[in-house]
């Protein structure tokens, strides 16, 4: 019942914060958000899962309660964690308190609503990462969008309304596509009478797919795979369905960007791993080349776009597209290092992009501009914040002994000689070139904004950032370095859960 307690408490906390007066809503929300983190650490400390939850491994903290039955199929409250979902749970509960603290400075209106929605979103995110029943999962998956819609729409920048609706409609359209794909899959599984993901996965693995309204099993699987991939691709996002992301990021307030990049994008990759690559590995390996091509395009194209941006947030946003490309590559190669590295990269990128957005936000708080051209020599005025920003940027460039390098390197090692992917070395080498471009645009942006003589058009004095702005940055940086020096903290359990996925695939040719 730990997971239920975790989610339930977060919901309650959200409610209480909603009702709290604005003055101390922020502090209260922070205090509350620490408990889920503690809870997640407790889950971690007592983690006894083994293998992959979907392929019949031992699920930790599993509870399955029948909820309702429809069309002869049971929908149940079924939650639990394995080596893939637990790190993401920890990541979520870890990022939210920091994001809340980073909101203290910028959020100055309707605080209680803001923090309440943040916690509400956290609760749903936890649900997404722990749910093991499709319907339950889908409820949380969709429910994440609502608070996000408000967070962008109410507290966002000038074009917030456009960004919010775009995000909302775009991602919902995607989920519907995915929904239809998954449903046709379940109905082709004639004798599986539940929506429990493990059951469905194992049924498919044991050839449970039947001809359905004259469509052959293979074709159904392929249709479902494509539909789900397309649906999740929007969430990740992958080129060419990425255009909602920069708008959303640019308009969203800093703490929301942190969660958007840090956790929400991971929902997409997590779902891809769970559904497409774990349930339908053979379709995945049949489509390996096009998927890898998309991944590489995302990496290079996203990086090129970032290179062309002048808005610091846009830069980081596009580089997220680029980083997610690595994850896709890692998933499609079906090697232990590849899949495990992809999962690890989710966590690593969550921390690093969170740090970047936070740091940019701290500068924005002081300068009220994010345009590269508008400022220079910020290092002179806010040395600590800038110092951490620089460190974070190098983390983003994949500096060894920081989390980002571990994730990317695992993926590269896994993918370079992957038998599941034709021309693997070529794809890998191409994707790797991203590390050069990323260095290019981050260094240029830093040079012109952080260094050189201090210049900024303001009528007030720009001083060092307040402590509660810098503290979260420092915490994140430490976490990134720790994870980079000792990736096994997560990687051990991740690869334990990733192995069955890898073994699930039959390599053709």
């Amino acid at each position: 019942m730990m997971i239920e307690a975790l989610i339930g408490f977060t919901f309650v906390a959200a409610l209480l914060v909603l009702l709290a007066p604005d003055e101390w809503a922020g502090r209260l929300a922070f205090a509350f958000s620490l408990l889920p983190f503690a809870g997640a650490l407790y889950l971690w400390s007592g983690f006894d899962g083994a293998g992959n939850a979907l392929t019949g491994g031992d699920i930790a903290y599993a509870t399955q309660i029948e909820w309702l039955e429809v069309g002869g199929r049971t929908v149940s409250w079924f939650v639990g964690v394995d080596g893939i979902s637990l790190p993401l749970v920890v990541l979520t509960t870890f990022l939210v308190p920091l994001a809340i603290v980073s909101a203290w400075t910028p959020i100055d209106a309707r605080q209680s609503q803001f923090y309440g929605l943040m916690l509400f979103m956290e609760a749903n995110l936890l649900g997404v990462f722990t749910a093991l029943d499709f319907f339950l999962w889908f409820v949380f998956w969709e429910a994440v969008l609502v608070p996000m819609y408000f967070l962008i729409g109410v507290w966002g920048g000038p074009r917030r309304k456009y960004a919010a609706i775009k995000f909302f409609v775009y991602t919902n359209a995607a989920s519907l596509l995915m929904f239809i794909g998954f449903m046709s899959l379940t109905f082709a599984l004639g004798d599986t009478q539940s929506f429990a993901l493990p059951e469905i996965t194992q049924a498919i693995a044991s050839g449970g797919l039947e001809t359905w309204f004259g469509i052959s099993p293979d074709r159904i699987a392929m249709i479902a795979f494509v539909a789900m991939f397309a649906g999740f691709a929007v969430k990740v996002p992958i080129v060419p369905v990425h255009t909602w992301l920069p708008d959303a990021h640019v308009e969203a307030p800093t703490p929301v960007s942190v969660l958007l990049a840090g956790v929400l994008l991971k929902m997409g990759t997590y779902a891809l791993l769970r559904f497409n690559f774990t349930m339908l590995p053979d379709q995945a390996s049949a489509l390996a080349v096009p998927i890898a091509a998309i991944a590489v395009i995302s990496v290079i194209y996203g990086a090129m776009l970032a290179l062309a941006q002048k808005d610091l947030k846009r830069i980081v946003a596009y580089s997220s597209v680029s980083s997610m490309g690595y994850v896709i590559l890692g998933l499609v190669v079906f090697t232990e290092y590849g899949v495990g590295g992809a999962t690890f990269q989710m966590v690593a990128h969550g921390l690093i992009s969170g740090l970047m957005f936070m740091a940019v936000g701290v500068i924005y708080n002081a300068t009220h501009t994010r345009m590269v051209g508008d400022m220079s020599g910020m290092a002179d005025r806010m040395p600590v914040a800038v110092g951490i920003l620089v460190a974070g940027a190098f983390g983003y460039m994949g500096l060894p002994l920081m989390a980002g390098f571990a994730g990317e390197f695992f993926i590269f090692v896994g993918s370079f000689s992957a038998p599941a992917l034709p021309y693997a070395p070529l794809f890998t080498a191409l994707a790797m070139f991203g590390i050069v471009i990323v260095a290019g645009y981050l260094l240029s942006a830093m040079q012109s904004t952080l260094f050189g003589p201090f210049e900024l058009e303001t009528d007030y004095e720009v001083g060092p950032a307040p402590f509660h702005d810098v503290a979260p940055l420092a915490v994140l940086l430490v976490a990134i370095i720790v994870l980079g020096v000792a990736p096994d903290i997560f990687f051990e359990m991740i690869r334990d859960a990733a192995l069955p996925v890898v073994e699930g695939v039959t390599i053709n040719g």
């Binding site: 775009k166 255009t243 290179l307 090697t335 090692v413 260094f451 990736p487």
Partner: protein, 680 residues
Amino acid sequence: MIDVFSYVPAIVLLPFFSFLVALGVGKHLPKGGAFGGIAATAGSFLLSLWVLATVAGGEAANRTLYTWADAGGIGPTDIELSFGILIDPLSALMLVIVTLVALLVHVFSLGYMNDEGETGLPRYYAGLGLFSASMLGFVVADNLLMAFMFFELVGLCSYLLIGFHFREPGPPSAAKKAFLVTRFGDYFFLIGVVAVLATFGTAQFAGEGSFPALAEAALNGSGSVAWTPGGVELQTWLTVVGLLVLGGVVGKSAQFPLHTWLPDAMEGPTPVSALIHAATMVAAGVYLVARMYGFYALSPTALAIIAFIGGFTALFAATMGLVKDELKQVLAYSTISQYGYMMLALGAGGYVAAVFHLTTHAFFKALLFLGAGAVIIAMHHNEDMWDMGGLKSKMPVTYYTFLAGSLALAGIFPFAGFWSKDEILYEALVHGLNDPLLLGGYLMGLLAVPVTAFYTFRMVFLTFHGEPRSATARDPEPVRWNVKGPLTVLGVLAVVTGFINMVPVQKVLGVEGIDLLHLWLDNHWGGIDGLSSHHYADIGPYSSGYLVGGEVGTVLVGAAVSLGLALGGLLVAWRLYNVPSPTEHTAKLGGIKDVLYNNYYLDELQVWLAYRTEDVAGGANTFDQGIIDGVVNGVSSVSLFGGSRVRRLQSGVVSQYATLLTLGLVALLLALGVSGGWFL
């Protein structure tokens, strides 16, 4: 007996702690944390000496200390990614060099930074500490991945230190360039690392299961590799991998065409330049090749390419050094050129020669940079040699040590540089006689000798001789012990280091046992199997050929030629510049002059490339905003337009509703009727 090797991590960690201390509480410490750094590097230096002694005592270490990650790869076993230490004669020697230079640079910094009242000293010493730590970690690395990681950290530190004066426009740009250009090289290095792991399932340097050993076994058929890309033959693939790793070397060791960052890097504080050029960053590249020489030796093609790049860079950089006006610029190009020599040596199978030159160069180049630093202090940070002159009498210590360094650099007997450079050329010659590409490298290296001597002494004469050409030169600022001390130490070393490896003497006079470095690297006192020079010679492709008079004759001829050329260059410089008031003679070069001034327009080329890339990015952005996002927004506007059409149906006139309603019903009737065949 206590195990010294368990203290090796301390060698790396001590400077790291000094980094933490300086970063954390540096502003509350005297001298901004300088003493912490000095203490740390001193400690590392002593430990390194101890390690050196132990290795001399016949011990060596190749241990895995910490598993970073471990998961299933391709092939039978997991790929384990780990950290460890590999202590053999080579790394032990390198440890001593690095720690010594780092220590001296720390001491010198007291004079150069503190006494000059620089701000941000904690940041500076933190940088130095991290820099030393990274380099030491790189030196002791027992596998390619660990090496790569610290290689990257070295790059980071160079970025931080070159950009130390971040409030000025120049340094940040130079720092960016340094990191980017080396990053470009490291891109290939990274592919190389991944390729090695994929191919052999391990990245260990030494031992039975190490990748050089596996490659060797696979080539002579007594073993096999885990994976090779489809359709690529093993020998070719190994060459490709070697060249990929070489990419990183070319970047860090500033070889053509990735050398352009190094002259700009002079924007950093002079002690940092000394550290970068003598012992850390630039040395890292060459050291890496030496470290995995057992792998390169298996691929003649790779060796030939290394040799040619080296030789070409040696000459190419030297020519650019001819016309520079700033003191440090000249030294910068001399560095590029000297590392070119080392690459030539490695490519030519002169493993020992390369390490030898690495050693001597570390000392005399550190000396030259620190000397230059002293001059710069004296000149109130004016680096233009045309404003100097006549400093000889004002600052004798600096002058004589600097002179020793210059003689070494120019390769004048019996200074350190002579021995090492002579051996390189000798190796290139004897091996090159059977290998045209190598011979080309040799000839370029030989041509570079007089050029080097010329620009070196042009520098010396312009700086120290003749009449003072500016007010500051007439009354330079004095320097203190903390500057003179390091200079003296290095000056001595620049003179004597050559004697650790007097191969020519041995060959000519037949005195055994004076080629200490050869014996040292040949595991004469012990080491690790498979990492010895003769093993490299065995697996290497080269056979020696001799000119008239067999070996001895070749030795003498070679030495004589190179020494003669060096002296020639020196004399020309003497004639032109050792006069009371020297003038520019670059006009004599005519058109070439501009080319040399502008470094063969290579920077322009790279800038041009950067701009083109930005254009492409801009195009991609337009495409993204216009086409891809346009489609997205198009969908919504189209549906809204459709909606505004649909609503027009609702005309508000009820009788029209009746009509439409009836028509709809009739349509339905007809459709179903026809399909159902009611009217038949």
